[in-house]
Structure formats: C-alpha cells, structure tokens
C-alpha cells in the first residue's frame, strides 16, 4: 500500500476512455462501479459538451457482484441503439478487473445482431498501466485494428497523433499546426484520436509523414505505422519559433518540399523578435523551472532557454518511464532533471530554487502560489481553466506567440512594482496585494529549520528596503551566510557582509 494525496495521472481506464471516446464513430463503455464513472462528468463539464458524451458506464452494483456481467450486453445494445457507433470499446476499471468477470463470455454469448457495432476490448492493464501508457496503447491498438493497405496520397500529407478530448489545449494545438501545414501545402490526412473515424483510420497509411504532438502519447502509434507502412515521423518538437522552424524543416525534407515555404507559414511568428525588443532584455537574468509531461517540459524548457535566454533551474516530468528521454533531450540545458510523481518533491524543488517563473501543471500552480512564486500553467493535469473558449495553442508559431505572452503576463513586473514601492505611499496602489511579505508567504511546504538565525530589528528594516522581488532570495542568502558562520543574530553588519559575499 502507498499513501497518495494528489496524483499527476489518472488511472488506466481514464486513459483508455479518453482515447477511445475521442474517435468519432467509436463509443467507449466502462465496466466499473458507478463511482468510477467521473470521467463522463469531466468530459461533459471540461469540454462543455452540449451532447451526451460518447462514454457510458456499465455500472457494477451489489447484484452483479454476486453473479456474472449479465447486464453488460443490455447496455451494449442500448449504446448501439442510441449512438449508432461503428465500434464499442469496452474497458474496465481496476475495481472491475479485480472482480474477474468473464466479459468475453458475456459478449460472446450475445445473440447475433443484438449489437451492430463491432465490440473491441481494450488491452491496457487496469492496474499496471497508467493514464499515459493506457492512452498510448489504446490509440495504437485501434489504429492497428483498422489500418489497411492504401495508396500514398498524391501530394504530401501528415497524420497528427496524440490530440484528444480532455487533452491539454489540444483543439488549439491542432488548429495551430493545421494553419502552418496549410501554408506549406501539406494535407492533414487524419488527426487522432480527436475526431478520427474508423474510415480515417483505414486510410491512415495514405500519409507521407506522422507527427506526434505529445510524444509520450503518440510513440507506440508512430512506431507501429513506421513498421507497417514505413512512414517516417518528425523528431523535432514544434515548440517555440525557432523550434517550430526546425520542426517544419525536418517535415519539409521528409515531404520533399522546398523549405522556403516555411517563410509563409511563419509570417505571424513574433517570439524571436520579442526576444530582441528591449522590453525582453531583462529576461536574461530571470530564472525559470519547467515541470510537466515529458514533451511539454522538453519543448518549453528549450524555448525559454534558446529563444528567450532565460536560466533554467530544473526540468522535470511525472511520467516516470519517460525520464531518460527527457534527460537526454535537455542535457544541454540543465543537469537538474527531476523525475517524480510526488507533487511534494516538486514543491520542494520550487522552494529550493525559487524561480522567477515556474512553468508547470495546475499542481505546480498551487505549490508555487504558496511560495509566492508566479506560475504559468503549460501542462496537464489540467483544470477547467485549461479549456479556453478561444484560441490558446502551445505548439507551432501561434503557440510560440502564446508562450511569449505567458512569460509576459506571468512575470512580476519588478521595475513597475519597485517604482511604486519607492515613490508611492506604502500599502497603496494596485500592487498593494501583489507581493506577499516573506512572513505571509511561508507555506506548508516551506520548512523552517531549527537553529535558524534571528533577525534584529535594524536588519529587518534594512531588508524591507530590498526590492520585494528579490527580497525572499536575499533573505535566504543572508540566513545561509549567517548559518555557515555560526552567527546567531543577524544585524545590519551581517547583512552588508553577506551581500558582499553572495551578491544580491
């Protein structure tokens, strides 16, 4: 047994449901206790679906506990009649798998014609797989099931693999890639699982090249299609302006089209120019950290480092099996790669490094806010806030612009605040609430160690004159200095000497 408080990933059945229900013409049936069916609420609420989601629960109840899954065929028939899917994907939650119901037998014994849809049992393991691996496996399985030998398309074309319902800004991401591909004259053969029908899957071999937007979700499918049809896939990640250009150059080479066309695709890209403008010059002294899915962590860390010259304190992911991939991918950016699925460990890393901006998931947003560190949410686990009504991509050129805007809107505008603090009356103005005093910013994750030196009033007053956006860092530097030298009481002299020593 293991104690879990907040998890980054949902269980396997959520991964299967997300993948299966995202296809069009495919309905997902989850065999589970009623209480495990919260995925339908997430679909209905987060995606704001004005229709019944293509996900149904075959609810275990006290009666089915005793006997067989006799009620499953009835639900399958009902789904068939209501939704007319071409395929019904059946999966079960961990609880249902413990029950070891003979689902095969129940499905096999159904009267012929009772269900017109083909029934497919997803093979992801309800306990051993997690959300990510179950999603990736299910997508590949369905592709493998339907794929047929077809003639390659006349002109260059791609499949975009990975976007789904409940995915992180996925609709926007697809739109952003499509705009770039349109400009290059590359056809989108299919986007999957999001919206792809069984017919689209039958024709999946038409594409010249495959693109995996979230590598951890797409990898098995990319490899399957490479093996089956010899379709190459793009290694670069479409993050940032320069990154997207590299990505498109690789794509153009694979599609045998001239790279000059990229100019047209990138005409609205502003991130590199933003980096040149004086407004952005201060970014060079800013320290950032990135934690999320392996693909977003790698893509965004590189964008911040290479395109904005920000200093990357650490990069990390909670998808543990992708840790080595991430490490290799960012080895030129940082040695500090954090691979953990314990949110508290990430919170401690944020506390330790105190970045100027944290880039993470909703989990990091909470941890960072407790520490007074601004945080931009760039990765799942998501929140309803990550299902915007409008266009907010993270990939492609439009995604690069959006990342630049995020940096801009998330960072604390130090100069502005400093001027207000210097010239305005204390505790007034629009930033009065923005900067927590160090005392108030101490949170559950910030540990106060025993034997910490005491501050005398004069030193405290001096610290109040340090600009707030470096105050916390300065304070901990002074304390570290004092502790190293066995100083029990910090006075003005200690502060001054510490400053000589560590700067700031």
């Amino acid at each position: 047994m293991k104690l879990a408080i907040w998890s980054y990933q949902a269980p396997a059945h959520v991964g299967v449901s997300k993948a299966a229900a995202s296809f069009s013409g495919i309905h997902c049936v989850l065999r589970a206790p009623k209480g495990d069916g919260y995925g339908t609420i997430m679909l209905a609420m987060f995606e704001r679906l004005g229709v019944v989601p293509p996900l149904s629960i075959s609810a275990l109840n006290e009666a089915t506990l005793a006997g067989a899954a006799a009620d499953l065929p009835l639900l399958l028939a009902d789904v068939d009649r209501r939704h007319h899917p071409e395929m019904i994907v059946v999966t079960r939650s961990a609880t249902a798998s413990v029950l070891q119901e003979p689902l095969d037998g129940e499905i096999g014994m159904m009267a012929p014609g009772m269900v017109k849809a083909e029934i497919f049992q997803a093979s992801a393991h309800p306990v051993r797989d997690d959300e990510t691996s179950a999603f990736a496996l299910t997508t590949k399985e369905l592709v493998a099931h339907f794929a047929q030998d077809v003639k390659r398309s006349d002109g260059p074309s791609v499949n975009i693999i990975g976007p789904s319902l409940l995915g992180f800004h996925d609709r926007s991401n697809v739109e952003s890639l499509r705009r770039a591909l349109d400009a290059l004259g590359i056809e989108v053969n299919a986007v999957l699982p999001l919206g792809a029908s069984p017919d689209d899957l039958r024709r999946i071999g038409r594409a010249w090249v495959n693109i995996g937007t979230a590598r951890e979700l797409a990898q098995p499918t990319l490899e399957f299609l490479e093996g089956r049809f010899g379709t190459p896939w793009v290694r670069e990640l479409p993050y940032g302006e320069a990154g997207t250009t590299r990505f498109l150059r690789e794509l153009c080479a694979l599609c045998e089209i001239p790279a000059e066309r990229i100019k047209a695709a990138s005409k609205d890209a502003n991130l590199l120019w933003y980096a040149r403008t004086v407004d952005a010059h201060a970014l060079s002294s800013k320290r950032v950290a990135v934690f999320g899915t392996p693909t977003t962590a790698a893509g965004i860390a590189r964008t911040l480092r290479e395109e904005l010259d920000m200093r990357v304190e650490f990069v990390g992911t909670y998808v543990k099996e992708w840790g080595p991939w991430l490490r290799a991918r960012v080895s030129d950016i940082t040695d500090d790669v954090l691979v953990t699925d314990d949110y508290r460990e990430v919170a401690r890393a944020i506390d330790r490094t105190r970045p100027d901006i944290m880039f993470g998931s909703q989990m990091e947003r909470h941890s960072a806010s407790g520490l007074g560190v601004p945080c931009a949410v760039v990765s799942p686990p998501a929140h309803i806030l990550n299902f915007p009504l409008g266009y907010a991509p993270f990939v492609g050129y439009d995604g690069a612009n959006h990342i630049g805007d995020l940096v801009n809107t998330t960072q604390v505008l130090g100069l502005e605040h400093h001027l207000i603090e210097t010239f305005g009356p204390r505790g007034q103005g629009r930033f009065a609430e923005a900067a927590p005093e160090p005392e108030a910013a101490h949170s559950a994750v910030a540990t106060v160690e025993d034997g910490a030196p005491r501050w005398d009033p004069a030193a405290e007053r001096l610290m109040q004159r340090v600009p707030f956006f470096v105050r916390k860092k300065a304070r901990s530097n002074v304390e570290k200095y004092a502790k190293e030298r066995g100083v029990a009481v910090i006075d003005e002299a200690v502060v001054v000497r510490a400053r000589e020593h560590v700067g700031g």
Binding site: K34, G37, M45, G50, V51, P54, H366
Partner: protein
C-alpha cells in the same frame, strides 16, 4: 469536522475520484488521502500490515483526533477486512478510528454521509434519557435556527451529529428523538432503531416553510408538546415572496441525482410551481413515506433510464430541469433550462431561514434564462452547443 482525517483504502480510481470531486484542488493541506492498493495487496493479504505505516504517517503529519478508515469497492469485492483494522490501529496509535464504507456501488454519492454517520453512531454512548439528536451535516446557520427553535419550544438543547469535533458524539438510546435532516440518512436511522431501539422519526424533511413546519411540529410532538408553526410558515412564505413569485406556475422536472429530489419537489409544489416529473435514485418506502404522500399525483420514477428520462422531458417540455453535472450541459444542448443539482446538497437551504436561498437557487436560474433571452431581443443568434464535430478541426472546420 475539522479535526478528522479521511483515509480511503482503494485503487487509483478512488484517488482520481477524490481529486476530481474536489476538482479545483483545494491545496489547503488536504485532510484526506488514499491508501492505494498495489498488485500485492490485491492478492488478499491482511490489510493491517500495509495500513500500519500509512496511518503512522498520517498521525505524525496531521495529528487528527479521529481517522475515518473508508473501505471502497475493491476491498469490498476482495472481502478484505478493512473494518477489522480499525480497533488495532486505534489501539496502536491512540487515535479514534471509525471504519466506514464509501463505495461506488451506492445509488447516490450522498449516501457516503450516511455511512460516515452510521460509523459514528456505533461509537456513541448509550442512554435512557429523553434527548434530541439532529442527524446530518448542516451549516452553522442551519444549526442555529434549530437550536433557537428548540429553546423557544422549551425542548432540551439538540445535539448535532456530526458536531464540530469528530469525537463529539451524542448519547443515543431507546428514548432518543433522532431527527434526520436529510432524506439520504436512512441507514443510520435504521441502525439506531435496530441497535439502540431508537424510534425512526417520520415526517417531512426540513426543506421549505412547509417541511420546516412539519419537522419542528413533529419534534415537539415527540416530546409530548403540541406546538403550531402555522403562523411561522405563513410569515416565511410572505418573506420569500420575491423568490416564490418567480416560480409560481412554472413547470419543473427533476432528474435523478442526490436523493433530495422528493422533498425539493414537494416544497416547490407547495410554492405554486408545477412539478411534472421526479426522477430519484431510490425511495425508502417508510422513511420517505410522508414526502411521497405529499407528492400525490406527480410522476415519480425510481432508478430510471437516462434516455427514457430525456424522452419524457421532451414530451413534458418543463420550464426548468434539475439535473446533475453529468447531463446538465447535454440537457442545455437539447434546449432545456437546467439547474445543476449538486449545489442543492451543499448550500444552506434547510429550515425557515434557508427557504429564501432554496427557492432563490431555482428562481435565479429561470431569471437568468429569461433575462438573457430578453436582452438578446431575438433568436437570430442562437447558442450553438459544442458537439463532437467541433473537435474535428484538423481536417475540416465546423459547418
């Protein structure tokens, strides 16, 4: 119960559910955690060994005065004796451990509260005194009203379960007047009757002026007093006329959700709304008898099929549909005006003082709908529900 901690023994699904149910992730040091069963635990080993270090960690970090040790679907299926771990854990760590069942097999999520209260009742002291215990989670405001009313009637001060502390348990015995505040606390009441000989209190639940009147009058009667709340009921109806006026004559239907459909439908009807259809997950015949009787003539469907409900609603075309988050947006997509029902289980809507809020929740939804329709002046720009084609953005754009 600020001093309690919930330790849920289950799988990743339970963990996911907890997190999703608390969806917005309240990061104020969570007072719950999941003891996640690994594959080894699924082989049916004694759960105590696995729980010991976990409970030790919880006690060290949170210092709760009581731990609710919740068994879920998976332990249930495995016949894992989670409840049996409570006593040894309590002895070992010196912290009260209440074993309870919180599983997804129940017809409604609200029954979780029933299981928790039952586990507490089981530890309540026995008594022969004639005392008053009001059962169910209530807000401080709702409790105050009940305390004030009891004092005004010259009754003993009521004890509440749960109270602020998870260790504060009222005595319960054969002479106890046990008054359930919610219609989903059947099992706790049945337990008290079976184990302590406590008579089950049967009247309307204290929702709306009519229900509140019946509730207080029944409490008085249980103490041998005849008190009339007729005037109080009338005054309350008059005081909340603004909300009630917006509901009078409007047609309302309930989809099955949290088991509170019956009393809400009953009081809306008393307010002059036309209640067409009430779906509910379960009816406890005797426990809900007064509510069912008050709904004579209304179409009530127990454990109904979702699509049959949709079909019925399409025939009835009510002005307002009350439904859970699962289907609320889909119903809006079908053109209904929807009040999401989950809110009704956590807003303080009990008693005379909660009646305004109760009707206000329904009236506000209708007012918003009417106001938006009026402000838009015409239907030339209708809302387009998001459908699945909306997501086929990569290949073609939405028509």
């Amino acid at each position: 119960m600020q001093d309690s901690f919930f330790l849920v023994v289950g799988t990743g699904s339970c963990q996911g559910f907890l997190q999703t149910a608390l969806g917005v992730m309240i990061f104020a040091k969570p007072r719950f955690a999941t003891a996640m069963l690994g594959e080894d635990d699924l082989s049916g080993a004694d759960p105590l060994t696995g729980l010991l270090p976990l409970v030790e960690a919880v006690v060290a970090e949170h210092q709760p005065s009581a731990i609710f040790l919740a068994s879920t679907c998976t332990p249930e299926i495995l016949k894992m004796n989670v409840a049996g771990c409570a006593a040894p854990l309590e002895e070992r760590f010196g912290v009260r451990v209440y074993p309870c069942r919180l599983d997804g097999f129940d017809p409604s999520y609200t029954i979780g509260e029933d299981h928790v209260l039952q586990s507490m009742l089981a530890r309540s002291p026995e008594t022969d005194e004639k005392n008053l215990v009001i059962l169910g989670c209530l807000s401080a405001l709702e409790e105050s009203e009940m305390r004030v009313e009891c004092a005004a009637m010259g009754l003993p001060e009521p004890r509440f379960l749960p109270a602020e502390s998870a260790l504060d348990l009222p005595p319960v015995g054969p002479n106890t007047v046990l008054a359930p505040a919610h219609p989903y606390l059947y099992q706790s009441c049945a337990w008290a009757q079976r184990e302590r000989g406590t008579a089950t209190f049967r009247t309307l639940f204290p929702y709306g002026p009519d229900g509140s009147r019946a509730f207080y009058e029944a409490i008085a009667a249980a103490f041998g007093k005849s008190v009339s709340y007729q005037e109080r009921e009338r005054d309350t109806w008059a005081a909340i006329e603004r909300e009630v006026a917006d509901l009078r004559g409007r047609t309302i239907a309930f989809c099955s959700d949290g088991l509170i459909e019956l009393p809400l439908a009953r009081t809306l009807r008393a307010a002059g709304a036309v209640v067409d259809f009430v779906g509910t997950p379960q009816i406890y015949k005797k426990f809900h008898a007064a509510e069912v009787a008050a709904l004579a003539g209304v179409e009530i469907v127990e454990r109904g099929d979702r699509f049959q409900t949709f079909a019925r609603l399409s025939e009835l075309k009510p002005d307002l549909v009350v439904a859970n988050l699962n289907i609320a947006n889909a119903l809006e997509g079908m053109g209904f005006t929807v009040k999401w029902s989950t809110e009704l289980t956590f807003q303080p809507i009990h008693g005379f003082s909660g009646a305004g809020s109760l009707f206000g929740l329904f009236a506000a939804t209708l007012r918003r709908h009417d106001a938006l329709a009026k402000r838009r002046r015409d239907d030339s720009v209708p809302a387009k529900p998001i459908d699945l084609d909306f997501f086929r953005v990569g290949v073609k754009t939405r028509a």
